[in-house]
């Protein structure tokens, strides 16, 4: 074969294959009924048997592109499902009759609307991405029998977004198809070989009808109310020892064991409770923060390099990050009232942090207790957390040494520590650093540091999703690829840092409407993602889950730092709204 023929053939085959793959992978999107008709479906299902149905809104509802599913859940578990036709009215009437045969106590109904169907396509190595999380389910047709796995079923199985866990913190992706095939095979009572032989497996796109239209308002009252719910969630799941529930499983209403408790996240959560106590006037949050600090004192505190230097030790290691965040929590707590124990804890932790400082301002993040000296290594977040703690500590205790330490640390973090060829085109995780910079403005010259954080904000704007970039309602999230479910924490941490930066810039006469728009989009995302009582059909106890925050829309668990970051972000946004009035 000649080289020219090979190249022409290769180009032709590749283009043709791509066109075929695209056409097979593309799935239609049949229209949904209008909001009033969607609400009618739920109102009709809630009407007791024998009573007249509410009037159908004018206009004939569109037909689905496949069956309409009516499911009934009790305490997070599917109790019954009626698979109807593509006609909404007929399906709802038939489902009511069917559900009446087996009365349930307090069922939550869910109506799913089929919008399209397509073959299950997978380029070699890409089968993990064959299903779009939260949108796609599976249908298996085996002769006369048809069985479905709806997106709700896959969510309940934690099938979405859990197939692979690369060595990147908190990143998972992909949907493993093999267990889903096995589940469908079991549903039609076939073994794996017979299932492959006798059944056709296809992808099905399904959208739930909405009970009420989503409320998108992000005014001061809504934001404060959401932050209060986050604080209440944390308090509801805090043990009397002061320890927080690290991961709450809403599907089973219980603590998810096996995960190692993070003391740094414990400190961060205590910080949010202290913020809520002060800014939302929540005495119960103050009590929770005090319990959490008491846990730190009782379970982790020791001395590092002197009787006046307190450090948190967790699993045999001196924890610089946890020490800094505990100090930050103690300082914040003192804003809502004095507490001698918190004051003493803060004094000791700050002394330890100051002793870890190098001559150039950077902190050493480890401490060797046997040799009694710091270890000069740097970990992500710790210096930014410590800078914020030193400033908050200075505001609480008035010790000039803390201010001087911060004065040396902040210029280093925003200058020499991020100065290399290409440093204007790439940035790290600076959300703690930029919170410290905004706070430092009241005490020192931060012109250069503020400029650094403004640039960091510009970089974040490049990574923020606009509308329609991903298949999910992810506007305001941050990421680099639309096939990964957006994470809540990145949005929250950017708001925590950039809302105070926006205010600091505004105080210098530098209005930045683009930064404000970025923040507004991220706050909108946080309000959409939180557990607020909207979609609770998979929760064992919806009231216990109120105020939780999943990592992604495909999670039925809430880790404590997700709630903390979201809560702190909403408080930062509320402060911006208050000061912008």
């Amino acid at each position: 074969m000649s080289l020219r023929r090979y190249l022409i053939g290769w180009l032709f085959v590749t283009c043709a294959a791509c066109a075929v793959i695209y056409a097979r992978a593309h799935i239609g999107s049949a229209p949904l009924p209008d909001a009033a008709t969607q609400a009618w479906a739920y109102a009709a299902l809630a009407t007791p048997p024998g009573e007249a149905l509410p009037p159908l809104p004018p206009g004939r509802p569109p037909r689905a592109d496949g069956p309409i599913f009516v499911s009934a859940y009790v305490r997070g578990e599917l109790q019954s499902r009626y698979v109807g036709t593509n006609d909404l009215v007929a399906t709802i009437e038939a489902a009511r009759a069917e559900l009446a045969k087996q009365p349930l106590r307090g069922p939550i109904h869910r109506v799913l609307w089929t919008r399209g169907e397509s073959p299950l396509v997978a380029v070699p190595g890409l089968s993990l991405f064959s299903l779009v999380p939260l949108h796609d389910g599976l249908v298996a047709r085996c002769g006369e029998r048809t069985v479905y796995l709806t997106p709700d079923d896959l969510l309940a199985r934690e099938a979405y977004d859990h197939a692979r866990k690369p060595p990147v913190p908190d990143l998972t992706f992909g949907t493993e198809l093999a267990p889903l095939r096995a589940a469908l095979a079991e549903a039609v009572a076939l073994d794996a070989a017979a299932f492959e032989r006798e059944c056709s497996l296809r992808r099905i796109r399904i959208t739930p009808l909405q009970r009420v239209a989503a409320d998108e308002s992000a005014g001061l009252r809504e934001v404060q109310s959401a932050a209060r719910e986050h604080a209440r969630f944390i308090l509801r799941h805090q043990a009397s020892s002061g320890r927080f529930t690290y991961i709450y499983d809403a599907q089973r209403d219980r603590v998810r064991a096996r995960n190692q408790y993070s003391l740094a996240r414990h400190g961060g959560t205590a910080f949010f409770l202290a913020q809520a106590a002060h800014r939302l006037r929540m005495p119960e949050a103050r009590a929770g923060a005090l319990r959490a600090l008491d846990f730190v004192r009782r379970e982790t505190l020791d001395t590092c390099g002197g009787q006046d230097r307190a450090c948190a030790i967790w699993r045999g290691r001196v924890e610089m990050g946890a020490s800094a965040l505990s100090a930050l929590a103690a300082a914040e707590l003192l804003r809502s009232g004095d507490d001698p124990a918190a004051r003493e804890l803060l004094r000791g932790l700050l002394a330890f942090m100051r002793a870890q400082q190098r001559p150039d301002g950077e902190l050493m993040h480890e401490y060797d207790r046997k040799r009694g000296r710091p270890i000069d290594v740097q970990r992500m977040y710790y210096s930014g957390e410590a800078a914020l703690a030193l400033l908050a500590g200075y505001e609480a205790l008035g010790n000039a040494a803390d201010k001087q330490a911060a004065e040396r640390l902040i210029p280093h973090l925003t200058g020499a520590a991020w100065s290399f060829f290409g440093s204007r085109y790439f940035y790290g995780e600076e959300h703690w650093t930029c919170q410290a910079v905004a706070r430092a403005g009241a005490h020192m010259n931060v012109r250069g540091a503020l400029e650094f954080c403004r640039r960091w904000g510009e970089f974040q704007a490049r990574l923020q999703y606009g509308p329609g970039v991903t298949p999910w309602p992810a506007m305001g999230a941050f990421g680099v690829g639309p096939v990964l479910l957006p994470r809540a924490t990145t949005a929250a941490s950017r708001v925590e840092a950039l809302a105070p930066i926006y205010l600091a810039l505004a105080a210098r006469g530098q209005q930045d409407p683009e930064l404000r728009a970025l923040l507004e989009r991220s706050v909108g995302l946080l309000l959409r993602m939180r557990w607020s009582g909207r979609e609770t059909h998979l929760f064992a106890d919806p009231r216990a889950a109120m105020g939780g925050m999943p990592s992604t829309l495909a999670e039925l668990t809430s880790r404590v730092d997700m709630v903390q970051h979201a809560g702190s972000a909403l408080l930062a946004w509320a402060e911006l709204l208050e000061r912008s009035r």
């Binding site: 290769w10 695209y22 639309p482």
Partner: protein, 131 residues
Amino acid sequence: MSHRIAITCAQALIGVLVAVGIWLGLPTRYWPVDLLGTLLAVAALLTAGLLAIGARTAVAVTRAVLWAELVLGSLCVSLLAGSIAQLWGSYGPVGSGGALLMGTIACLVLPYLVALPVLQLVWLRRLEPRA
């Protein structure tokens, strides 16, 4: 003579790049990629050596190795293009982030495992004795 030197250098470069890319660049081990890539890298370095010493079989071996590089490289680009087509079909537009990522990978593969082998196959014709 200058074409022989150019092909020798290009094959040495491809051999080193593929080996370094697989054994130092890839974050995890996956035997089909590791095995094929390593064989390709060894073959490229071998042809560079054969050409450098002026072995009698050098041209024939080089042609075979260049075709192997071209087939594997073009297959790799085709799979990447197919991946984009699947993701675009399933998820909608893959967006600037996805396109950038895939584009970067394709740009890394295209010059070394498609364009360079094609160029070398053209040069190789000039080394062959005319019929």
